[in-house]
Symmetry: none
Subunit: 412 residues, 2 copies
């Protein structure tokens, strides 16, 4: 038996004034989601296993995959780094970074170099080729993520993630120097290495041809790397060992790829999967059906809805959801008989507030042996009529593993 | 105030193809259960306190009685032994056994001696009278359970339950020798005693008149005792001390009697209670009403439904449920005013799969002060509309004790 889990990131919401007290799920044209609702069991779940806790997409996904994020989460840095394909080891230190724009006194002028995208491959190459750290015992790797997002990874002896950020989170002030958070030699050394990398990145990037071109075009140069969110390598139990499910992840963003990689799932790249509303959702769904014979469990992550909800772009959120609904309809129509389909929102986002909330979020499961319950629509209000009731994020995989008949009885 | 809890073992199920998406509870003619549903509060519960976990009847009953099985369960052996009336002490080692049929090389020919029943009292007597163990510091007791099922109990110094099974679980191969699972002297000694008992059982049984008679009738002899599932004596807190309820158990099978005995409840024997679908359910219900004045809490266990669900015998399951419904109607009509009636399925069984599942299972409570909620039928789908919502196995007794006004306030 197999299962496909499709995550519509951050689609759960609160009633909105603009929608006369309804939610995006309640007003969008999503016939395929509602059709699956009629044929499946629904409920809501608390992403962080208790009401009122606001989850990030990373902690929510850990929970949905059956891990307790309060016990194992070490920050976003290592997950982002793992999502770029770097194989992390215990003892490594990982940071997320931005390409940004600074003046010659390192005053921050633009936190994202105006969402720099073109030419970043050349900049990545230049940084890795031209920077040498003063400490011969520590190696670094720099990798681009999506657009202005990038990562910095240290491996070597005597380093620590207990170092402060360089991102001041506002423009017009100087980029911060990283410093030790615990006064220990390892973190002092690491903060020095971070600062050294930042200064050397300016030397490499400021006059780089890509940035000279940008200046000519009136665009802010990506002339500094600004790291933050240092984290040690988390110790995530292998997904297969934990649940006896051979798993694959289809996702556009490195955050979700990183979680998949860190729990030992295969990361399946899909051309056109951007992690934004322009993503080729249909290609993701088709890939899930294509690879299903090789996996017990395929996670398909759709990010765009969360991105535009953060930016309060209601129209775009509805349109993106409707595109995802079309893909889900295709998947449901191509689902083999022995396969379960799980649809959920990983966490709630208030599109009015433009941020995550701690609300429970809808889930539905369709497949062999699953009850058709009294919840007939996929939305927040209707899902609470469902037979799953209100469960916890960590309950989802045990329920699915039981449906898939892979659960061992405790007792006789 | 008093309470009667009636357990319909394993009656909760999933929608079945043969029943056009309905369950046994949804198609059976059970007017009495539905009548109580109209007058009570319903809900579902997770037997092992979390979704998707598959419970055995033993772990489920521990949970229903307010004990956390993950903390205290030591296996089925000691429970079966306690269920035969042997009073267990700490340090004892208990095993479940089968009467089986072997040839002279101890090749297993029939795992149950074709469900041997006649003559087993004589065989039990012969084994206890004619076997002496070589170790003078260890005493054994052998007892029959139901039919071919029996138990072996060791008491003495320097013994351990860390020994392997002798049951190969298939016919045509030699009965296994028990061996130590941890290499310690206690388990080495115990495994030797198990093997000694097995060999001596053959000497006693093979030419026993009961077996000579069976051979004459063309039936396989019960000529060897095959032990498995060794367990140490669990440390279950006394039910009365824990809940201030003087309790009694009415059950046909030694598993449930054993749990009752181990938590210090009185075991009430009822003639005709067989633990199968031929059980005299009405006699059990009448006994519960009869003894109620002497007890706060009477557990009535009905096993037949689980047995036939394991064997995928749908028709028999429905018929058995309907018989139990008749008994429950009688009990409800004879229920004193100050008495609560709790009806539940201890765990779910998929009659299609023939095995336990991790689904939540229905519960209802009727009695003074209990809400009549919107759930009007006793089945899986309707129960989930009930005011109890989705609770845990361990929540049931606290709710009942609170209804019975025996709960102390925490706080002021």
């Amino acid at each position: 038996m197999h299962a496909i889990m499709i995550v519509i990131d951050g689609i759960a919401d609160r009633p909105m004034k603009k929608l006369e007290g309804k939610t995006v799920l309640e007003v969008a044209n999503i016939p395929n989601l509602h059709n699956i609702a009629k044929n499946g069991v629904l409920g809501v779940f608390d992403p962080l296993n208790a009401p009122g806790r606001r989850a990030g997409s990373d902690t929510a996904h850990l929970s949905i995959l059956g891990y307790n994020p309060y016990e194992i989460y070490t920050g976003r840095g290592p997950i982002e780094v793992a999502g770029t394909g770097i194989k992390l080891k215990q003892g490594d230190v990982s940071l997320r970074c931005n390409y940004c724009t600074v003046d010659e006194k390192l005053i921050l002028l633009n936190r994202t170099a105006n969402y720099i995208r073109e030419g970043i491959d050349e900049l990545e190459k230049a940084l890795n080729e031209n920077i040498t750290l003063s400490d011969p015992d520590v190696q670094f790797t720099f990798r681009n993520g999506a657009d202005y997002r990038c990562v910095l990874h240290f491996r070597g002896s005597g380093i620590s993630a207990n170092v402060s950020d360089t991102d001041p989170w506002k423009e017009g002030v100087k980029v911060l120097e990283s410093h030790s958070l615990d006064g220990k030699p390892e973190s002092v050394k690491t903060s020095n290495l971070v600062n050294e990398f930042v200064l050397k990145s300016y030397e490499v990037l400021n006059e780089h041809p890509v940035n000279q071109e940008r200046r000519k075009d009136g665009k802010p140069p990506g002339n500094l790397i600004m790291p933050r969110g240092a984290g040690e390598t988390p110790n995530f139990e292998d997904f297969y060992k934990k649940w006896q499910l051979k798993g694959a992840v289809i996702a556009g963003i490195s955050l979700i790829k990183g979680i998949g990689a860190l729990v030992g799932m295969d990361i399946i790249d899909v051309p056109g999967a951007t992690g934004y509303i322009d993503s080729d959702f249909m290609a993701k769904g088709q890939k899930a059906i294509e690879i299903l014979p090789k996996y017990d469990f395929v996670l398909v992550h759709c990010e765009g809805t969360d991105e535009v909800a953060h930016d309060k772009m209601l129209k775009e959120e509805i349109e993106t959801l409707e595109k995802i609904d079309t893909m889900i309809g295709w998947v449901y129509n191509h689902l083999p008989e022995d396969t379960f389909l799980v649809i959920l929102s990983d966490h709630a986002v208030s599109t009015e507030l433009g941020k995550h909330t701690g609300d429970p979020t809808p889930i539905m499961i369709a497949g062999p042996g699953v009850f058709k319950d009294n919840a007939k629509l996929f939305n927040e209000r209707e899902a609470r009529k469902g037979m799953l009731h209100r469960i916890r994020g960590n309950d989802i995989i045990p329920i699915l593993v039981d449906y898939m008949d892979k659960t061992k009885k405790f007792g006789a």
